[in-house]
Symmetry: C2
DNA sequence: GTTGGTGCAAACGCTTTGCATCCAT
DNA sequence: ATGGATGCAAAGCGTTTGCACCAAC
């Protein structure tokens, strides 16, 4: 996944929404139900969803919500590092909760579940690559695809 | 980058277009000037371009070319493994020539140049990740961002 | 009370599609 | 000759935008 600013603060929102609330406020942003619901939809499912799927799920909880709000909420949440974009073969308009710290996602191609792992193999080779190519490496996308235990049985 | 079927056949088209011609024919596809020009635009620049940029460049050589043809040509070329999609922060509608074999791209954020490297660090850790997560790893997407030598000076 | 956020609907622009024509084989 | 590919223009649709209203602070 994209390696941008990592958020290492407590993200145990859900039961106790204090930390996420203060997190928004520190950025001068309001903590709106729409933003919280977008986040909780992604967090609770542990899956990646398209914008339309998120919109559908959010409307079940906040019926009046418009699509534009979903677009704007996702943009904000990505900027804050709370949500990541999931890159697929045919487009990158899917979204999932961001892992904490420098982790990378493994995506189940069966059920869309996203888990993440901490072992980043890029640092180890970036020195070598710099030497060979002359590039300074600043950033990387890494995403794995596979099948989770449940989907392997199908 | 995305690991799909790799094309290890000769791809020295340019001066001698024989190999690419037979490559198309083997798939039951026609070798049209439009497809060749899309390919050569990407290959000669060594950079990634948006669809509109490709269209503009192709029209300089084949003035009558329509956008739809660019869309269709890119789709075909990606299917053939001759072109890859370049994934950026804010979308994945950029394209570059595909490397030969299992290589991954390094993208210069300054000049859009794309070079590729063969050292794939994923195989080494996929066993460990399978054990830890229960996922079978089938595929991965890796792309590095940095600055090439020329762009470092700016 | 302020100000940023939301909802709605229109506008926008990228992408796809249908069809007649063309051209690579 | 013929079937796939192209060009054109219209249709489609996901995304963005403007503005009035609302609600978080």
């Amino acid at each position: 996944m994209e390696c941008k600013k990592s958020v290492d603060s407590d993200r145990g929102f859900g039961q106790n929404q204090k930390p996420i609330k203060t997190f928004f406020h520190k950025q001068g942003l309001k903590c709106t139900p729409q933003r919280l619901v977008v986040l909780s939809v992604l967090k609770e499912s542990q899956k990646f969803f398209s914008i339309m799927e998120i919109h559908k799920s959010v409307k079940k909880i906040l019926p009046g919500t418009g699509v534009a709000t979903i677009y704007r909420a996702l943009e904000t949440l990505i900027d804050l590092g709370l949500v990541i974009r999931v890159h697929l073969e045919d487009g990158c308009q899917s979204f999932a909760v961001a892992p904490i710290g420098h982790h990378h996602p493994i995506v189940c191609i069966g059920c869309k579940r996203v888990v993440d792992f901490a072992e980043c193999p890029i640092e180890a080779i970036s020195g070598k690559l710099s030497r060979k190519t002359g590039f300074t490496i600043q950033n990387h996308f890494l995403q794995l695809f596979g099948k989770c235990r449940a989907c392997q049985k199908m």
